[in-house]
């Protein structure tokens, strides 16, 4: 097999991994701390992409538009999730997982239709800013789009920031404690409800960021939430619930098996990641790394 083809597929897989990681780390945070299997997470990713389109268009569709959208779109998603969390989800933390799955699925249906209502059914595209256009020549025949290089850099940055938040800030430490024993954290006088609220909003911010970052590489369309949410759930499960490095590992497995699978057997490319997930879960049903539960 052509070595360059393998290498270039690995690079494609890595940029996909970054998107998958950013979205699933948010899901993992919410699942690990709040124990909500948030099916609406995929919809927030989609809303992030649509918001990026609107913001980037409003600011001229060029470089400024992109940079404003990079921060504006995730913040918009975070604000939206804040409203939903305070008005609905905060009352339901004690419910069974099954109920939470269905409730959040209900919200994903609502969000899906609201997106259709606001943005319509047509494809939207977000332009790549000028400095990220073009290719980097890595080797003789190996081209890497600059935007993908930007993605590959931003992934570890997000992972590091998230790790710092969870392990080094007071808020992160409280949220980890609340994940283990929420009653005890409440008993020492900490407002657990607000800790949960902030964690939820940060997780959703990451979903919005993932949607914003993916927007220039694909055509933004309805239904992009459905395939992604399933992939992120599987990534979180194979990585270990609530474990950020687990989400990174899971995203790597998923992204690389997908891109290399396409090379191996184009027709069944999408089957490979699912097969990899099944293989991991058969041998390590609770995920590769330690979960926070």
């Amino acid at each position: 097999m052509d070595l360059y083809a393998v290498l270039s597929q690995i690079l494609v897989g890595l940029s996909r991994t970054v998107i998958l990681f950013i979205v699933s780390s948010g899901l993992s945070l919410i699942l690990g701390v709040l124990r909500i299997p948030n099916v609406a997470h995929g919809s927030l990713y989609m809303i992030g992409a649509y918001a990026a389109y609107t913001i980037s268009k409003y600011f001229g569709g060029q470089d400024t538009g992109f940079w404003v959208a990079l921060f504006g779109a995730p913040l918009f998603v975070a604000f939206l999730s804040f409203i939903v969390e305070r008005s609905v989800f905060q009352f339901l933390y004690e419910r069974e997982h099954l109920m939470l799955v269905l409730l959040t699925f209900g919200f994903s249906l609502i969000f899906g239709d609201l997106v259709k209502l606001v943005w319509g059914g047509e494809y939207k595209t977000v332009p790549v800013p000028r400095i990220f256009q073009g290719y980097i020549l890595l080797f003789e025949h190996l081209h890497l789009p600059i935007y993908n290089a930007f993605l590959i850099i931003i992934g570890p940055v997000v992972a590091l920031l998230l790790w710092l938040f969870v392990n080094k800030t007071k808020m992160g430490k409280i949220s980890r404690a609340a994940a283990v024993d929420r009653e005890m954290v409440g008993a020492v006088g900490i407002n657990v409800s607000w800790v949960f609220g902030v964690t939820f909003v940060i997780g959703c911010f990451l979903a919005g960021l993932g949607g914003m970052l993916v927007a220039p590489t694909i055509s933004v369309t309805l239904g992009m939430d459905h395939s992604l949410i399933m992939e992120s759930f599987l990534i979180v499960i194979i990585g270990g619930l609530g474990n950020i490095w687990g989400a990174l590992l899971g995203a790597l497995i998923f992204g690389l098996t997908q891109s290399l699978g396409i090379l191996l057997w184009p027709q069944f490319g999408i089957v490979f990641p699912y097969a990899a997930v099944v293989l991991v879960l058969v041998f390590k049903p609770k995920g590769l790394l330690k979960s926070t539960w």
């Binding site: 997982h97 209900g106 994903s108 209502l117 459905h226």
Partner: protein, 303 residues
């Protein structure tokens, strides 16, 4: 009050449907029966077995595809094709069940959904065999069952027989043990019940009847498509169980009827059916966590 007396009356009423309903509504009634059977089979493991079978529709889809493939690609007798569907689904549930049954609750559900997604991905991509994302259309149905009315009667009889079989199983010692496992698995294990075996058997039974529902769908609709195995349909069937009531036998059937009728009515006014469904679900989870039939039963018990 004789609640059991209502069932034959309802059945007789259903038998008369084709005499006074237009064709489209007869077709709709068949769809309700099929989804009701599918939801009931899910509730067999979900409400009565306490297992989070998130991706139940895999068995429905596999049943449908088995019938469709046997009818289009082989010259076997059509009734053999119908008979093969539930067994294909049951075999798949054995395979998936053996892997999943070691786990419980959310982990069970996630492993089950990942296995189901694998099956979906294969069906979705295997163009030469399953037709890929196009599915299979215009499946030749035997002449006897080709009309809307005869398909409806066939669906009605098979659904009634399947529901009766599941009901008998739930009131049998096996069913009671299953409900005991749902309420306290540790205790059941301690008094010598083989918990995993009971759960596996329940999964196989549920898969079998989901396959029956898939087979009926092929007869009524003469198509199969990969969305039959996609996880969103599984969650929609879960919603049917929730709306009707988890812990009641007829709840899922009621839920299927309510949702399909509502969808038909609302779709004539607006394209935003999913929005309405989402709002209904949120309200049900907040105010009627045991579903509509569960609420009614509770009221009747209190008098």
């Amino acid at each position: 009050m004789g609640k059991k007396g209502l069932i034959p009356i309802a059945f007789l009423l259903l038998l008369l449907f084709p005499f006074f309903l237009p064709r489209f509504y007869v077709y709709l009634s068949s769809l309700i029966l099929i989804h009701g059977l599918l939801a009931t089979s899910l509730n067999f493991v979900l409400g009565f077995g306490g297992m989070y079978q998130f991706h139940h529709c895999v068995f429905y889809g596999v049943g449908g595809y088995t019938t469709a493939l046997l009818l289009t690609k082989t010259s076997l007798s059509p009734f053999l094709a119908f008979l093969a569907a539930p067994f294909a689904s049951a075999i798949l549930s054995i395979l998936m069940g053996v892997i999943c049954v070691r786990l419980s609750k959310l982990y069970f559900g996630m492993l089950q959904i990942s296995l189901g997604s694998l099956v979906w991905a294969i069906v979705y991509r295997w163009y030469s065999f399953t037709g890929g994302d196009d599915g299979i259309h215009g499946i030749p149905i035997p002449h006897l069952l080709a009309s809307t009315n005869s398909a409806y009667y066939f669906t009605l009889v098979i659904t009634a027989l399947s529901m009766f079989a599941m009901y008998r199983m739930l009131v049998s010692p096996f069913g009671k043990t299953l409900q005991g496992i749902r309420d306290n698995p540790v205790r059941c294990e301690m008094i010598g019940v083989n918990v995993k075996l009971h759960q596996l058997l329940a999964l196989i039974i549920a898969g079998f009847f989901a396959g029956v529902a898939g087979m009926l769908f092929v007869i009524v609709d003469t198509t199969v498509f990969p969305e039959m195995l996609f996880w969103t349909l599984s969650l929609e069937v879960l919603i049917m169980c929730l709306v009707g009531g988890w812990f009641t036998f007829f709840g899922p059937l009621l839920g299927a009827a309510i949702l399909i009728i509502l969808r038909t009515i609302i779709s004539t006014y607006t394209v935003y059916w999913a929005l309405v469904l989402g709002v209904i679900m949120t309200l049900i989870i907040f105010f009627l966590p045991n579903g509509i039939l569960g609420y009614i039963e509770e009221k009747l018990k209190r008098g």
